[in-house]
């Protein structure tokens, strides 16, 4: 083998291992010391050593074990530092060495214990700032760098890097345990993990055209985290619900925009562009989840998506069922956003006037005045009622609040379609049937 060929192969093997095992190795190295930064440093040194060694000596049969051995010395130094003030340091160090050697001695990478679930719970610990939980998980579990995460979360690489460093410091210095919570604390703690994964996915989802590579990739990484969580906690219905929800959203990615980048509302989407395998998987997950008999937010949201798909594919009028799902969701979350969607479903069943009175009052919840979908929904329902001047005003506010140009263009088209002033020719009943 010539040296460039060897370099090439070493690099591609190292990259493949990094993608496949980065999070697993970081979690394994830091689970006892809680020093995530040191584990990351040790591992990146091990990767650097691999790029020197593998081209000369060939790629090892078990690259993960090789990397673990290379990272061992550095991480042992760290461990010694962490426990040096404790009387039992010697004994702890001996146990940690034994643990690392045992794992590195495994012939198969799969036999290295998987601590990623514990790591996800540490990243979403209540004492970690909620806004940094998703970025932290993306970095520590998936190995994304601060620049890529920052791009997706609208933060500079430096600012994101600082936030991530502080969070890792907190895990170490405040003594946040890297472990799966006990049964009785699991529900609350799991919610935080699910929310962080959902936030990672949603940040990617806000670039639906997929023009921004960092964002699109993030949606895929969010989906990967949800799959990983579902494989580690297959008996938790909300975990399956989250994965089903993300799959439903992902399945329609290609249909949400025209080739020219125009926004396509659900009812107008070309179903041939939907990923029907993902939809089938989502439906299967949802059935498995509901058989477990414990309903939750993500299962309900996935069920709403499932009802939308059903309606579009089979032409069933199921808005009453959708409204009921939103009722249940509101009981659980108390979210005004849920009420907006519920009002739109109510309007389909009982008419625009009923929908309007079901909309939450922006006076009662100030956040709504800055929420685009609220004004878009309001405009839509007012137009159906024939109150075109008010509809126009609400539509303008919606446009002013939207950051996605494609959605803005869609809202502008709606405005252009509004008649200039109130026309007596259109009755509310007729508007409803449009």
């Amino acid at each position: 083998m010539n040296s460039t060929e060897g370099d090439e192969q070493a690099r591609s093997t190292a990259e493949a291992v990094a993608r496949r095992s980065y999070g697993k190795l970081v979690a394994f190295l830091s689970v006892r010391t809680r020093d995530v930064s040191a584990a990351e440093d040790a591992l990146s040194e091990a990767f650097a050593a691999a790029l020197v060694d593998w081209p000369q000596n060939g790629c090892p049969a078990n690259p993960e074990a090789w990397l673990l051995t290379a990272a061992r010395r550095k991480s042992i130094d760290v461990f010694r530092g962490v426990v040096r003030h404790e009387l039992a340091a010697g004994e702890l160090l001996r146990l940690e060495l034994l643990r690392l050697d045992q794992a590195a001695g495994q012939p198969q990478a799969q036999e290295i214990p998987d601590e990623r679930l514990a790591m996800m719970f540490a990243c979403a610990h209540p004492s970690i700032d909620a806004a940094v939980r998703a970025p932290l998980m993306l970095q520590v579990v998936l190995g994304l760098d601060a620049g890529r995460i920052g791009a997706a979360f609208l933060a500079s690489p430096t600012a994101m890097g600082k936030r991530l460093v502080r969070a890792k410091e907190k895990i170490r210095e405040a003594g946040i345990p890297i472990r799966v919570p006990r049964r009785e604390e699991l529900p609350d703690r799991l919610d935080a993990v699910l929310n962080a994964i959902y936030a990672a996915f949603s940040e990617g989802w806000t670039d639906p055209a997929g023009l921004d590579a960092a964002r699109r990739e993030l949606a895929e990484e969010g989906l990967y985290l949800a799959r990983l969580l579902a494989s580690l906690l297959p008996e938790e219905p909300e975990v399956l619900g989250l994965l089903a929800l993300l799959l439903h959203a992902e399945s329609r990615r290609r249909a949400r925009r025209t080739d020219a980048g125009e926004f396509v509302p659900l009812a107008a989407q070309d179903q041939a562009l939907w990923d029907h395998a993902q939809i089938a998987e989502a439906e299967m997950l949802l059935r498995r989840a509901s058989a477990m008999g414990h309903i939750g937010r993500f299962q309900l949201e996935a069920a709403v998506q499932s009802a939308h798909v059903d309606r579009c594919r089979k032409g069933i009028f199921n808005w009453a069922q959708v409204a009921e799902l939103y009722d249940a969701l509101f009981q659980l979350t108390g979210s005004p956003v849920v009420l907006i969607n519920r009002a739109l479903a109510v309007a389909e069943v009982d008419g625009a006037a009923a929908g309007l009175s079901a909309l939450p009052d922006e006076q009662a919840d100030g956040r709504l005045t800055q929420y685009q979908p609220y004004w878009a929904a309001r405009s839509e329902l007012l137009a159906r009622e024939g109150a075109f001047a008010d509809a126009r005003l609400a539509n303008e506010i919606a446009i002013g609040l939207e950051r996605d140009p494609a959605v803005r263009a869609f809202l502008e088209k709606r405005r252009a379609a509004l008649p200039e002033s109130r026309s007596n020719g259109i009755s509310p009943q007729r508007a409803q049937n449009e």
């Binding site: 760290v78 530092g81 003030h85 004492s127 210095e173 003594g175 946040i176 919570p181």
Partner: protein, 124 residues
């Protein structure tokens, strides 16, 4: 690891209680301390006198400035502390939640900066 549980509470609350309520309040703290000791995590605790008895000192240009009152004047004042030794933050949080102070005030959980750790952080 060692953690300091800092009790922040409204000082007026205790004075407004009936003698019987005060007795019950004190008994709750005694029981809590007893539980900490039994679990082998207790390292120390103290109740602080009200902030009206507090004095702050700061040296400016080599001259001590002495002022009446606490450093920060808030409705919820630091009223006492428990020092505990437990394996991790979750254990500290679960002890903090059991403290009577968490029901009539707020508990702040701060890890102790143990000797020798500073150098290690800087070197890493």
């Amino acid at each position: 690891m060692q953690y300091l549980l800092l009790l922040h509470a409204n000082e007026a609350g205790f004075a407004q209680m009936t003698p019987e309520q005060q007795r019950q309040g004190m008994a709750a703290y005694m029981a809590y301390t007893e539980a900490l000791v039994k679990a082998g995590v207790y390292k120390g605790s103290n109740r602080l006198r009200p902030v009206s008895n507090s004095t702050t000192v700061r040296v400016v240009d080599g001259k001590a400035q002495v002022l009446d009152g606490p450093f920060i004047d808030t409705k919820e004042a630091l009223g006492g502390y428990f020092l505990i030794e437990v394996p991790d933050l979750d254990a500290a949080l679960s002890w903090a939640a059991r403290c009577p102070g968490a029901s009539h005030g707020v508990l702040e959980v701060r890890p102790i900066w143990e000797m020798g750790q500073g150098q290690q952080s800087a070197a890493a």
